[in-house]
Subunit: 148 residues, 4 copies
């Protein structure tokens, strides 16, 4: 879906970036938010030896983590302040070896419902300037307001 990306309010952007910073595992992987918009999130991580599987490519678990986390932060852009989102389930298909200097996860909400939000996350690796679509995932989130 090309075209204009619907902007988030500065308050929402601040809130969601703040949430991302509380997810220790994202920081441990070195992931960062490279785009936030209404119903969308992009996360990126640089390759390091620690993130590799046996062939020196990004491990599937790194891809799964970013697919889940990107979808979750995309879902949060559509929820009000005070809402939380729990991962219900996700499914990831690996399409090509995740070989490259950088992994980019592009997540977008497909359906935002009253209780459940479904998003799709697509993973791309970059190697010598070439982009490869290496995985796609469907993720289900449940939104809720925590009880005080």
């Amino acid at each position: 879906m090309p075209g204009v990306v619907p902007e988030l309010s500065p308050e929402s952007e601040h809130r969601i970036r703040g949430h991302f910073a509380t997810v220790a595992f994202n920081l441990f992987l070195g992931a960062e938010i490279t785009l936030l918009a209404s119903g969308r999130c992009e996360l990126a991580v640089q390759f390091r030896e620690e993130l590799a599987q046996q062939d020196g490519y990004f491990h599937g678990g790194v891809i799964a983590t970013l697919a889940d986390s990107g979808a979750g932060h995309a879902a949060l852009t559509l929820m009000g302040a005070g809402h939380r989102a729990l991962t219900v389930e996700f499914k990831v298909n690996f399409l090509a070896p995740a070989r490259g200097e950088r992994l980019l996860m592009r997540s977008r909400v497909i359906k935002h419902g009253g209780t459940l939000t479904i998003a799709q996350s697509d993973a791309f690796t970059f190697r010598n300037g070439e982009e490869t679509h290496c995985a796609t995932a469907l993720v289900t989130y449940m939104g809720f307001i925590p009880r005080g």
Copy 2:
């Protein structure tokens, strides 16, 4: 499935533990093999702050990583030396918050075919001696012999 666990030959066990040690991301997470048997694998990881999501529980990405890796090493126990196994896809359902000092992933092969192997991985957390079933995953692997 209670009862006797079919033993692996010492050669197979050595080979598969050796493979596990080449998966850098497993080591980065602090995962270790706690059981290997024919068609089965158990992996464990101790909780550390770096592995947490926003509430201080194990991140879903840690669970997904172990679900994938446990299934893969369970699949390798049924393949001959020289075989490799690639993750085709997996799907994980989260059943309960993954809160605890330790995460155990129990993986077992459901179907070992000529090309594809399907396994199920179940995640359990341990907290004050109490065990909670916190996730279940179905994982598809493709076995192959790398070309020289």
Copy 3:
């Protein structure tokens, strides 16, 4: 999980069998309930030419339908009268060709939560008295009480 099957009350059994009879597509396929218990459901369908794929085996869509429907009725056994259950998503892995005179779907709830219920459905075909495990599925249901 061998052992005693927890019985349903006659009222619950009557209610759930009544619900099943309102699902026209189940009847169209010729499916019937062969067991109902707390958190469990078994459905069976006899082979007919109309249910086949190109090789004369049960079509994957028949298997998917029973996997979904069996899981849903297993979920309903744990919900009070007046509750409804919607399929959120499901995933099915095909393990062997579904060749036989009869297809049996065994569904059991893995986790029954406040909003979501997760079940596993396993498909078996019977051919000349031999049983084959031909598919396994994970199914997520959302329970709710319809507004008057």
Copy 4:
């Protein structure tokens, strides 16, 4: 992906439509191919009472069947004559009630590999001229050449 749809050769179109006609369950549902192109397939089915779930909407099993079958025929467009394709697994997320006079399944191949082909199928219902995106599915196929 708007734009020009890559055409199939008349031979391929004839071959794949011929294959579709051998899948008895598709015909039983009343499904028909409304578009075939390189890497793409669209299937449609008219609503009938027999295809309904308890609320009179299309049953999830009908959607799953078309998601699987559409993906399979999209995959076949990229395989040579003599190839067959087996469903390995699929996963479907339901996005909205499938209420309408007609169900359209749009399938396209995401990745066509040497052994495995991954496709996405999206379901739309039409009601009083209004289109609703009611489900999305990821489907894995394995291509092979049957042994004589």
